[in-house]
Every structure is written in C-alpha cells, then in structure tokens.
C-alpha cells in the first residue's frame, strides 16, 4: 500500500481549492459577514467603541472559516467522492484509507490556513481591529486549528455515514447554521436564547471563542476551563461520529 506522500497531499490540496463550497463559504462568506455586521451596527455606536466592536466581529467571524471549509466544504467534497466510489478506486491503486485520510486532513488544514490569511488581511483592510496581545492571538490561532481538526473528524464521519452528497450536505449545512445561531455568531447573543439552547451553547467551544476572546484580546486574565471542557465534549462526539463512519464503510467492505 502507498504511504502518505507529498504528491498525495498536493492532490488533496488542489481538490480542496477546486471545491467551490470551500472557496465561497470559507473565504468569501466570512469577509462578507464581518463587513455586513460591522457596517450594520458600528454606525450606531460611539466612535471610540468601534475598534473593540469590530475586533469582536473579526474574532467571531473567524470561526466561520474552519466551520465552512471543514464542516461544509470538506464534507460536501468527500461525500461526492464517496458517491462516485473514488476512494475505493484509489484503494485499488494502492492508496490506503489511512494515507488518504491523512493527506486530506493536512491539505484541508493548509487550505484553511490560506483562507484564514485572506480573511485576516481583508478584515485588517476593511475593519478597525485592535492590535492583540501575543498570547491572545496565539490562543485564538490554536483554538481555530483545534476546532478545525475536530470539525474535520465530524465532517469525514458524517460523509462516511451517509455515503451520499445530498443527505451529507443537508446535515452539515443545518449543523453549520445551527451552530452559528446557538453560539451567538448570527447577531443574537447567547444569553437571549432559550435556557436549553444556552446549555447546549455551553458545551460548544465556538461560544467561548466568539464571545469571550474579545474581552482579553489586548491582554488580561482568562479562565480556559470551560473552553477546554467544551473542546473535549465536541471532540469526543466528533471522534465517535468518525469511528461510526469508518466502521460503516468497513462493514460494507469499502475500507
């Protein structure tokens, strides 16, 4: 069986970049959203409050990048491949499922990095973003990458479970918008949502990143306990979905 090679990663990188779901939802959409939200609300607030507000918008909208490129874009792409039995075909050419999975994850993280860079540059040009403390910027970057790996597992598992584009896309899009609403990224603060939904938001890391990180962006203390716990919960659920998806494919003789 062929191992994970640079060529395989390059192939998957081209595959991710050629996927318009990732390009639109992961690159164009977060820039548009941050621009729309800041322009819609910044005009009604005192001038001195705008940088802090727009920094908050930048941080919360940055979560769209991993959610769109991994959860929506990757799941859409991989489910289409499964529908056409491309992974099976590659396996007949000696590409193991493990090598493919590794190449896909590395390539999609590289693509997300590029999308994140474009988003950051665009937002720096169009918004008034405060200069972060090094620790805060590092924590945001680390959180986004950890979230990306978790969402990759969730997307891969969901696509493997359904095996078809239609249901996979329906479920991941519902999750994408559902998570954005629950975590307060669509304009409605978490504390104004119903009690049950607030409890659900409490176990999602996007809630803490989107709502808390702006508070210590330029320095200050932060208790990472709830964030770590939420990562553990979402990570465990996503890992379980991934295992379930792999188990289903093995049961069908595809892996």
């Amino acid at each position: 069986m062929k191992k994970l090679t640079l060529r395989l990663v390059g192939y998957e990188l081209r595959n991710a970049a050629g996927n318009w779901f990732s390009v639109f939802f992961g690159v164009a959409f977060p820039i548009l959203m941050s621009l729309l939200i800041s322009k819609a609300f910044a005009g009604d607030m005192p001038v001195e409050a705008v940088p802090a507000f727009e920094t908050g918008v930048f941080i919360s909208m940055s979560l769209i990048v991993p959610m769109a490129t991994l959860l929506v874009g990757y799941a859409a792409n991989y489910s289409q491949e499964l529908e056409k039995e491309i992974p099976l075909w590659l396996r007949l050419f000696g590409c193991s499922e493990g090598a493919l999975l590794g190449a896909k994850m590395i390539a999609n993280l590289i693509f997300m990095t590029a999308a994140l860079a474009v988003y950051t540059i665009a937002d720096m040009l169009i918004l008034d973003i405060e200069t972060p403390a090094a620790g805060s910027a590092l924590l945001l970057a680390a959180s986004i990458y950890l979230l990306a790996v978790i969402l990759f597992m969730l997307a891969h598992g969901a696509a493997a479970l359904f095996g078809k584009f239609g249901p996979t896309y329906a479920v991941t899009m519902t999750l994408y918008f559902g998570l954005m609403i629950i975590c307060g990224l669509m304009g409605v603060p978490v504390n104004r949502l119903p009690g049950g939904v607030q409890a659900l938001a409490g176990v999602l890391p996007m809630t803490y990143i989107g709502n808390d990180f702006a508070g210590f962006w330029q320095g200050g203390a932060y208790d990472p306990g709830p964030l770590i716990l939420s990562f553990a919960v979402l990570g465990a659920v996503s890992f379980a979905v991934l295992l379930l998806g792999i188990w289903k494919r093995r049961r069908k003789g595809f892996a």
């Binding site: 390059g10 081209r14 595959n15 050629g18 996927n19 099976l88 075909w89 000696g94």
Partner: protein, 287 residues
C-alpha cells in the same frame, strides 16, 4: 498465479456466484470472461479483489499491489486537470517519467492531460484509466468491460492498443467483455458464466472443438437457406444465423462445396466465440 476453488458469493439469500471446479490462471494467460448481465462476471472480480465477502478459497502469491484492475465504472475528481490525478495516483512526475510519457503517447492522450475528467469523452476517460492500469505493469491485470458504451471504431482502436501493449509480455490478463470479437483477438482461454455458475472454462480452441467441432460454417438464417439446408446437422446459433458443425476437413469440404453450389454466402470459423457461447449455454452437452 491465481487459483479459485469452491468459491461462493452470496448477496443476502441469493447465490450470486458459485465456482465448484478449480480455476487456475497462470503467468501469460489471457482469460476472457463472458456471460450475460447478472452472470457473476463482476462479482468474480470483486471476490478476487476482496471487495465482497465470499466462502471458499482464492489462493495467490501476489501482493495486492501486484494486481491491477480496470473496473466497469471509473470516476475521478473534477476539481483539477487529470495530469495531477495521474501524478498522485502513480506517485510520479508526469513531465519526467519516461514510462508514463511512453504510455501517454501510445494512447494519444497528451492533449487531454490539461483537461478535467468531466471534459473528457467516453473513449478518453477509458484511456485515462487504461494508462493508470498499464503503468503499474502488474503480473495480473483485470479489465472489466473496458469498452462498454464506446462506439465501434473507438472500441476497436482501444482493444488493438491493449493487445499491442501486451504482445509478448508475461503478464496475465483477465478480460470481462460482452463483445465476442474483442475476446477472439485477445483471449486464449475462456471462462463462460451463466446465472452465477461456471458453464465452461478452458482453452478457447479446446472448448470450441468440444462444443462445436473442428470448425463451424455459418450462413444467414432466412427461409430459402433453411429450406436448402434442412437435411444438414446444425448446432445452436444466434437467431440470425444457421450454424453447421464440421468434425473434420472432409466434412468441411463437402459442406462448403454444397453451399458454393447453391450460391449461399457462408462464413467459416474455428474460434467463433459467439457460436461457442451459444452452444455452451444451449444445454452444455459437448459434441
């Protein structure tokens, strides 16, 4: 190289394939697999490749990477030009790999390298997969209905290229096809499947002798010809033909002289797979 014995593949309660007598494929063999839809041809390939669960024994000393396969349906991603797909699948540089360049030129595929898979024609899509398969230069290669859905001319050209490529090579080929003419030119052994069972397996010439005789003479099946040849012995043939078996040279000479005398167009063959197939399935009793 590959031995199949007492193989059974079940889809639910239905037996999709049953191989009761041993089938052995050795180096250099060219095995044609024929049978109608649902006969078990693709199931046999999938069992050998380990893609379906089975009972029985499939023995081989080959590693999985020593077996190349061209499946009936081949799909690739549409997010990039095919040259990048080729490079990743074969783990090679398409610009500098001489073997690959040779194959690309041999199959006139150079102009397609920059195109996406969805932009290729049916014949070009098949050529892409054939290039990927042949590059592996595997000791055992399976082709499952390579020319299915292609027009006559493209089909002929493609099979001629494959035949030319394998001429003199020791690789074993297993070719599944619905087209008898393709197998006549490519296969030296035949595996005939019917309703999931092996109807016949052996060297094409031997099977032909056993089921059809030394040679077969066929004429168009019209009322005039039927009347003129009503007294002659016939064997099973497709509906548009009447087939006469010839046990030896003398019988063949008498028959052809008779047909010539009555001005009936005829065709003589000692390897006609369509007639052979028809006679194997018509009851399976050798002559």
């Amino acid at each position: 190289m590959l031995a199949i014995d007492r193989l059974r593949v079940q889809y639910g309660k239905q037996t999709a394939l049953l191989v009761e007598q041993p089938i052995e494929i050795g180096a250099g063999d060219r095995v044609g697999v024929i049978g109608s839809n649902g006969a078990g041809k693709t199931t046999l390939l999938k069992a050998v490749l380990g893609l379906v669960p089975y009972q029985g024994r499939i023995r081989t000393r080959l590693c999985p990477q020593d077996i190349a396969v061209h499946m009936q349906q081949n799909n690739y991603v549409n997010t990039m030009p095919v040259k990048h797909i080729i490079s990743a699948v074969l783990n090679t540089d398409v610009r500098t790999d001489e073997t690959l360049r040779g194959l690309v030129d041999f199959f006139d595929f150079g102009g397609c390298m920059g195109k996406k898979f969805s932009a290729l024609s049916g014949g070009q899509k098949q050529r892409l997969t054939i290039i990927l398969v042949l590059y592996q230069d595997a000791p055992l290669t399976f082709f499952d209905e390579v020319t299915s859905g292609l027009d006559f001319e493209t089909r002929q050209k493609l099979m001629e290229k494959i035949r030319e490529w394998y001429r003199g090579k020791e690789s074993a080929l297993v070719v599944v096809s619905h087209y008898y003419d393709e197998l006549e030119r490519l296969a030296d052994r035949l595996l005939i499947l019917d309703k999931g069972r092996v109807a016949a397996f052996g060297r094409t010439e031997e099977l032909f002798r056993r089921y059809c005789g030394r040679a077969v003479v066929t004429i168009p099946a019209n009322d005039k010809n039927r009347a003129l040849t009503a007294h002659l012995k016939t064997i099973s043939a497709p509906a548009h033909l009447i087939a006469f078996p010839c046990a030896d040279e003398a019988e063949e000479a008498r028959l052809t002289a008779l047909l010539t005398g009555k001005n009936i167009d005829y065709r003589r063959s000692g390897t006609d797979i369509e007639i052979l197939y028809s006679n194997v399935l018509s009851g399976g009793e050798p002559l």
